[in-house]
Symmetry: C2
Subunit: 351 residues, 2 copies
Amino acid sequence: MYHIGIDLGGTNIAAGILKESDVAPLLFAQARPADDSQPLVRGDSCLLYKDSIPTHPARSAEEIIADAASLARTVAHRAGVDFRDVTSIGFVSPGTVNPLTGIVVFAGNVPFTNFDVKSHLRRHTGIEKITVDNDANAAAYAEAVVGAGHGVRDFLLITIGTGIGGAYVSAGDVQRGFNFAGGEFGHTVIVVGGEKCTCGRLGCAEAYCSVNALIRMTLDEMARADAAGERTLLKDIAEKTSGVNGKTAFDAMREGDKVAERVVSRYIYYLATALTNYINIFQPEILAIGGGISKEGEYLLSPLRRIIYSEMFNHRQSPDKYTKIVTASLGGDAGVIGAALLAVKEWSHKK
Amino acid sequence: MYHIGIDLGGTNIAAGILKESDVAPLLFAQARPADDSQPLVRGDSCLLYKDSIPTHPARSAEEIIADAASLARTVAHRAGVDFRDVTSIGFVSPGTVNPLTGIVVFAGNVPFTNFDVKSHLRRHTGIEKITVDNDANAAAYAEAVVGAGHGVRDFLLITIGTGIGGAYVSAGDVQRGFNFAGGEFGHTVIVVGGEKCTCGRLGCAEAYCSVNALIRMTLDEMARADAAGERTLLKDIAEKTSGVNGKTAFDAMREGDKVAERVVSRYIYYLATALTNYINIFQPEILAIGGGISKEGEYLLSPLRRIIYSEMFNHRQSPDKYTKIVTASLGGDAGVIGAALLAVKEWSHKK
């Protein structure tokens, strides 16, 4: 028995297929200590085949779903799986999704508004068992089952990109809130009266810890250095990449640039503040950081740990009681894998 | 079958007894919609008898436990219950508690440090089945089962006193974190670089939303009014109560005092900021506010709702998808009731 995951994004629709027997023991086994055992399949090796096609978001939701359905047939075919052996499909999108009804309420930059994904996917694939969820929930679930959070009961994924996403997975369940709108970790104020956030509030974590915020801080510091006549590599590096991006400050810092060091320190301090808040509330065994910024690895994690472990409420406990802070391990495949795993969770024969 | 709850505080040890059959259906039934049914027993009417004695915290932990054990015998006796019919005892204290081992790791102003409450209570009562937990967890569990959060799956209690406590209860489980140190809602920074908090961080919610913070704001505004020659009732009211307390500003505001209005607005804005953060993360169906400040009722709740419902991430959802914001309903008995209910949860014959 096989399950397909589909991850709808503003740019691409990605899909992948996995075999139930490869992953079901991971989902339904009791959580084990992190160091006790490795998952049967790790990372994207649980996907037998994956592929993606452009979303073309100017089209109607119906057309997009029709394309997603044929992509599902393609990945099954290429994996050498008879489509009749596909038990279920998991579909995830950004925005507000009601997993009970299978309706995408609102999806941001994809034209899905109160759109009944479940019925449309059923019609286009002939598969009855459809799971619909939010992409951040899927990514966190994937990391919890076969990624950075494997084997622990309490896991938090924070994804840092244009915005800040995240989800908390406890005892194998993604925490969604009663109205499925929870997990908005980025929209928690850390600077009362601070920078305007996309959500309308002032001073949200997203306005200080997202890649967009890092770019703003880099530009601000460049302007300040410029005005003060201070030398910095930031400008040269930015020119090579046709503008400042989320790597610019980290790259310049690694070449010893003092101005860049200030930018990175400032950014990391805000991020540590937000993450310490989450840890004080949840105390997950593992907190994983996903998104592009996680490629900075120890340049990001090491100063983060130093601040968080000295500021968090339980810093006097023994270090084996500290939340482990790591990078996410599934990269861009987390959504597809999570979509498929959420479908396995709902529809597996082993349930 | 009967269960006893014991709530250890810095001033008093409180205990109460309840009947398993009165509460077990509430604990083990599927969560129902809030408006669907009333609990069988509401509030402290689930306690057959309750009593309290002074803690005398200068004594040793052994002496305090011996007294707590005899208080347990007293409440059983006064309730007309044969002590042999007591199935279990739940014991809660402030601080860090490990429910797995029954050890109170650290309890603040009570002399319990790495103290094995479970073994000592067993020895002093002859009762094998002992549950040990944190008092804030117990209070939230009590509110979730027989109080303000009855009947909903996702419930958040925030208790506002000298500090800020709280716990999230989802699907009948208190969320504690992997190391049992979670739920420190007060220790989340909302003002980077702001007021020093008791935990050492700068700008925590506790430093802006606790009763201590409200008192500080009241004193600050009195000094400012004094310096500016502005008339205010705050001083007169404070004199009658031998000093500023958490009611002073609310009382003066109700008499039309403009300076007091500013204090209350400022305080409520910070509190709304913190609560909106929690709602954006958890989206509980009900958020209850406990502690002394909750006696202000609609003077507190109504402006809080106005700010929160306009600032929260999902404010464009229909209002039936909004978190209900209410006051806690069990008052000072929440700890005792919760201690007993946590014991029922762990040891009930119906499990």
